[in-house]
């Protein structure tokens, strides 16, 4: 994979600073998914499997058009289907393309203890580097969208790479290219937000969707994948999209206060030991404490 032109700006589990961090600016890339024109055709699912040469895995019937219940280590992109009955009795069949959201503040990267197993490039793409992965699964806890999936045999985690191998060569991601209805768009975050906003306004003005809006959650600093939703006040209808995702408290606690507290505890303990040694010296033997050999009680 050629990531020659991609600069890393964040590294998981890394001691010290990232070389070259914040020395240059890069445009943030973004995938726009317009759920209002998605027809659930799954061309994007097939494109992802084929581009990434992923092996086929068995599936079974599950009372839905959805290919499988969730993404897998070898299936990174899945359309979620939801038959939703509105108050007036009319039906909506909601379809959302589910894959890594490439958060600006990625919970997976935050939680990962392995140096360099997860990186974020300066264009916002979050990428797993399986060669450094230790298979601990902490990234799964850290992700508010439940995206990373573990291969239980190789003990590595996998997810959508936002086709870094394609975008670094100036091509759009495979899913974008395959979408027949033009529901998927790719470009800079700014341009995609603009396009998404236009579409949301059109839905409000001409199609009666008063609550149409764009999903770009601030709790994770915004995402590299944004959605246009018919009803932005109810993201949970779209295959359980979290309303206000953020890095889990446990991870934040562990990686920040607890980490420092832990460091403090270790440092404090070592200093305390040293100071005690200085003050009290090595432990001295008290004569009356040890009975002489052969003495009677």
């Amino acid at each position: 994979m050629s990531q020659a032109t991609l600069r890393i700006q964040k590294i998981s589990g890394h001691a010290g600073s990232v070389p070259g961090q914040d020395t240059q600016r890069d445009l943030q890339v973004c995938k726009l998914v317009d759920t209002t024109t998605c027809i659930g055709c799954k061309a994007c699912e097939v494109a992802c499997v084929e581009w990434n040469s992923m092996p086929f895995s068995p599936t079974t019937f599950d009372n839905t058009y959805q290919t499988m219940p969730d993404t897998r280590w070898n299936y990174w992109n899945l359309i979620l289907f939801n038959e939703h009955e509105r108050e007036d009795g009319s039906l909506q069949w909601l379809m959302r393309k589910h894959q890594c959201m490439h958060c600006a503040e990625p919970g997976c990267l935050e939680a990962c203890p392995a140096d360099g197993a997860i990186v974020q490039y300066s264009n916002g793409v979050v990428d797993f580097q399986q060669s450094s992965c230790i298979g601990c699964g902490y990234c799964i806890t850290g992700c508010p969208f439940n995206i990373p999936k573990l291969n239980s045999v190789t003990k590595r985690v996998y997810k959508c790479s936002l086709c870094t191998d394609r975008i670094s060569e100036g091509l759009e991601p495979a899913c974008i290219k395959s979408c027949p209805t033009g529901c998927l768009h790719f470009g800079t975050k700014e341009d995609m937000l603009d396009l998404a906003g236009q579409r949301a306004r059109q839905l409000k003005e001409h199609y009666g969707y008063g609550n149409a809006g764009v999903y770009d959650p601030p709790g994770v600093g915004g995402t590299g994948v944004i959605y246009v939703l018919h009803d932005a006040t109810k993201p949970e209808l779209y295959g359980g999209l979290p309303a206000n995702p953020s890095i889990p408290f446990v991870v934040k606690l562990w990686k920040h206060p607890l980490k420092w507290l832990g460091n403090l505890a270790i440092a404090g303990g070592l200093i305390g030991l040293f100071v005690h040694y200085l003050r009290f010296g090595p432990k001295a033997r008290e004569d009356e404490d040890i009975p002489p050999v052969g003495a009677q009680p």
């Binding site: 024109t37 027809i39 599936t59 019937f61 839905t64 038959e83 379809m95 059109q202």
Partner: protein
């Protein structure tokens, strides 16, 4: 399609019925989405279930299968009652003003048109004709016309009625027998209440849909355009042809035909099925939709006389009547087929053509095989056993055949009919059919053109080499032909000439290059020629630029007149890939080649008013240029280029009337000049319009023991339909791992309420049985099909995708029941197009 895929982006309003383009034509459907995105276009979907197309629609109506005519008839009534129709278009571009004979009778409460013969299950259509008119268009009394007829010798059968050449007319549209008033009277019975009772669509919902679709003509607006998009959800019924007719009439009423973003648009189901129909893959056509000769024609002249129409129009109007040139197409076809062996002296080798003496369509073919008449079958890329209908009948028919040749890319059900589930080893020993399996090339391993729904011929190059011992279809056919010809040469036979004299001048006769075949189809001139209008000149044996050059004197050859122009002296125009679209309306004049004559929107003269000015100046297609004294534009005018607007030539140049037919006279249709709602062969209710004539009076039933038809009294009370998924393609992709991963197992879609009644949960095995057979699969319990009230009675609909059989990845692993969808469907066909009724029949639903 009258229009095209890309053109759909020009629509303001879309009605999608009898079709599910989001699932079955996702790439073409992008243009419907484009209309929404760029024009705020609205989409109405009417379907028996809430499909993926419905998920992006603005209004959805759930309809009982096979009741589309009731719905559309209701919309026609609504449009007329609410003045939502294009008045000038109606008057000038349709036969609304033509007066019909007063002996013609509408079906009304009887359910039968005038002229019905119950013994033969057919109509004498003589009254389905225009009244003869005098010079001012007033109807002449019928007696007057009879005395003017030539005296016939006793015993001579009366000639079949011919279309009135000078019809009576009333431009005020008030005469009670004029087409417009008859139309209004006919559909006055299709009230919103009646539509609800028949179709199950609640009255308010129906009115919303009718209001929305006809809103383009509100307050006399002529700028907006609506399109109607359909597929086999309409064609696969005994009412199929008439359903499409109703849509065409609605579009004429609304003035949408000939307009960018409008028209009547069929979504073809296979990559080259349009090509197959254009090249006459149907028994009753010759290439270019020429009607086949029948024994009664007697001679080339007799054949031409019968199939060449004469213009039929009001005096003040003009009609191009382009089918008046039929003899030029016919002679050129025969010259292409027989070359020098077709001469004026031998009637252009008319005797070499087979004369079609009866129905040889799909279901009749299998019926004939069942009855021992058809002894053998070549099946190329066609899985007849899976296709059905009434799969058991097809399997039983094959058991009686002497031989079967299957050309395929994988082992299919048809080639393994002899070991289909249910056949014991004992029975296998009794089957004497010899089965040959020929490995053929897949679509990416062949070149040639595909003709798409938009009538574009697009050349494709071979992308992959064929594996192993595969052969190309044309090589197989060619080698069989050469062998048969050699046998006729050595052994003689009853009538060798049609084989021996057939033109076969390919560079490699055993493997003809499809580019050479396309050149033949385009045609050439045998002699030097000049076009009198443009002064363009051709040398002998040069390719023809277009069908205007065709002659009936034997100097031109052309394999298919509508494809003439595809491969000219400029080269193979179907290979062009220039995406330029100067008008922005999706008219890509230099991308591939579209028939006829590279026109992209048919009947485009109707996009202008009578003065030749476009109805919508922002979407100009063609227009009359006073300066140039001809029709010009962004598209090729589908019209006589120099016909002035004042001449009032009709835009529908392929009709003898020159105008669109609201009333379809004489033999145009077997069952009526106006579509009437009839129940499907297997129906849960009687026809509410006329219960004593529930079904189509001319639909015939087959009579073998395998042909059984049910009524609700037999215990089959649930309505069933069949359909397709995006993820699979017919019976092919069950052999491909990626598709099987997407949808691994067959399923039946069951309404939640029905599932509750029978105690079914999602994933439980369910048995769907018709009077003919059973289909077993897992239940998909869904909200997307709701129970319906048909005439106030609770009625359920179920349906399932067809894509599985007894051979495939999942099948071979024992993961399915190995039942075929078409074990349950009936062998009964549309009386005009002979398409089977795959999509509406009765079943029982039980836990399996």
């Amino acid at each position: 399609m009258t229009n095209g895929w890309v053109d759909m982006k020009n629509a303001d309003m879309m009605l999608i019925m009898g079709g599910n383009p989001a699932e079955n034509h996702p790439c073409g459907f992008k243009w419907a989405i484009e209309a929404k995105r760029t024009r705020n276009a609205k989409m109405i979907v009417v379907d028996p279930r809430f499909t993926r197309t419905a998920s992006v629609a603005d209004l959805f109506c759930q309809l009982r299968v096979a009741t589309d005519i009731a719905f559309l008839g209701g919309v026609i009534r609504y449009a007329i009652e609410n003045n939502r129709y294009a008045k000038d278009y109606l008057l000038n571009y349709t036969n609304a003003a033509f007066i019909v004979k007063d002996t013609f009778k509408l079906p009304e409460d009887e359910g039968l048109y005038s002229g019905y013969d119950a013994k033969t299950l057919s109509y004498d259509k003589a009254t389905w004709n225009y009244a003869n008119g005098d010079a001012a268009g007033k109807p002449l009394p019928e007696a007057h016309v009879l005395t003017a007829a030539p005296h016939l010798a006793p015993g001579t059968p009366a000639p079949p009625p011919s279309l009135t050449e000078k019809p009576a007319y009333d431009f005020t549209l008030q005469n009670p027998n004029c087409v417009f008033q008859l139309l209004r009277k006919h559909y006055s019975r299709y009230t919103p209440e009646m539509v609800e009772r028949i179709t199950g669509v609640p009255k308010e919902q129906f009115l919303k849909a009718a209001d929305l679709f006809t809103s383009i003509r509100k307050d006399g607006d002529t700028k907006k355009v609506g399109t109607i998009i359909y597929a086999v959800g309409w064609t696969q019924h005994t009412s199929g042809t008439q359903t499409i007719r109703t849509a065409a009439m609605l579009q004429l009423l609304l003035g949408n035909v000939g307009r960018a973003g409008g028209g009547v648009n069929a979504l073809r189901g296979h990559s080259n099925i349009q090509g197959a129909t254009d090249m006459a893959g149907i028994f009753d056509n010759l290439p270019g939709y020429l009607k086949v000769p029948v024994p009664a024609d007697g001679s080339f002249e007799g054949w031409m006389k019968r199939i060449t129409p004469k213009a039929s129009k009001p005096g003040p109007w003009e009609s191009f009547n382009y089918w008046g040139n039929t003899s030029k197409f016919g002679v050129s076809l025969l010259k292409a087929m027989y070359g020098d062996a077709a001469t004026k002296q031998n009637d252009w080798a008319y005797d070499y053509l087979p004369k079609v003496d009866r129905n040889y369509s799909w279901t009749y073919l299998w019926d004939n095989m069942y009855n021992g008449i058809v002894k053998g079958l070549f099946a190329f890329g066609m899985n007849g056993v899976a296709i059905g209908p009434d799969t058991k009948k097809n399997i039983d028919a094959l058991k009686k055949a002497d031989w079967l040749v299957v050309g395929e890319i994988y082992p299919d059900e048809t080639s393994e009919f002899w070991k289909s589930p249910g056949i014991t080893t004992e029975e296998m020993k009794t089957i004497q059919t010899t089965v040959y399996r020929l490995p053929c090339a897949g679509f990416a391993e062949k070149d040639g053109t595909f003709t798409n729904s938009a009538r574009w011929l697009q050349w494709k190059n071979t992308a992959l080499p064929m594996p192993g011992n595969c052969r190309l279809d044309q090589a197989i056919v060619a080698q069989i032909f050469l062998k048969v010809r050699a046998l006729y040469q050595t052994d003689g036979g009853k009538f060798p000439d049609p084989i021996l004299k057939l033109t076969w001048n390919y560079t490699d006769p055993a493997n003809p290059s499809l580019a050479e075949v396309l050149k033949e189809i385009n045609g050439k001139t045998f002699v030097d020629a000049e076009d009198p209008a443009t002064k363009q000149q051709l040398k002998a044996n040069q390719q023809l630029p277009g069908f205007a050059w065709l002659k009936d004197d034997g100097t031109t050859a052309c394999g298919n007149w509508i494809y003439c122009g595809a491969y000219t002296e400029a080269g193979n125009l179907t290979m062009r890939r220039d995406p330029a679209d100067p008008s922005g309306m999706g008219v890509h004049q230099n991308w591939a080649w579209s028939w006829p004559a590279n026109r992209r929107v048919l009947y485009n003269r109707a996009s202008c008013n009578v003065d030749g000015k476009p109805w919508d100046p922002t979407r100009r297609q063609v227009w009359w240029s006073e300066a140039a004294q001809k029709w010009v534009g962004n598209d090729v005018p589908d019209f006589k280029a120099d016909s002035k607007p004042a001449d009032h030539m009709g835009p529908f140049i392929m009709n003898p009337e020159g105008v669109g037919r609201l009333f379809a006279p004489l033999g145009a249709f077997a069952d009526g000049p106006f579509p009437e709602f009839y129940e499907p062969t297997e129906s849960p209710v009687d026809n509410l319009l006329h219960p004593q004539q529930s079904r189509n009076p001319v639909v015939k039933r087959f009579k073998t023991p395998d042909d059984k038809y049910a009524t609700p009294k037999d215990g089959y009370t649930i309505v069933c339909t069949t359909y397709r998924l995006t993820e699979h393609y017919h019976y092919w992709t069950k052999n491909n791992p990626m598709n099987v991963q997407l949808v691994p197992e067959p399923f039946v879609e069951i309404p939640e309420e029905l599932a509750q009644e029978i105690g079914l949960r999602g994933g439980d095995k369910v048995r769907i049985s018709s009077i003919r057979g059973e289909y077993v699969a897992k239940a998909m319990v869904t909200k997307r099909i709701k129970p319906m009230l048909i005439d106030g009675k609770k009625t359920y609909q179920v349906g399932f995708p067809i894509h599985w059989g007894y051979r495939g990845i999942a099948e071979d692993e024992g993961k399915t029941s190995k039942t075929l969808a078409n074990l349950v469907t009936p062998a009964v066909v549309d009386p005009n197009a002979y398409t089977p009724e795959f999509k509406g029949f009765l079943v029982k639903v039980e836990k399996a």
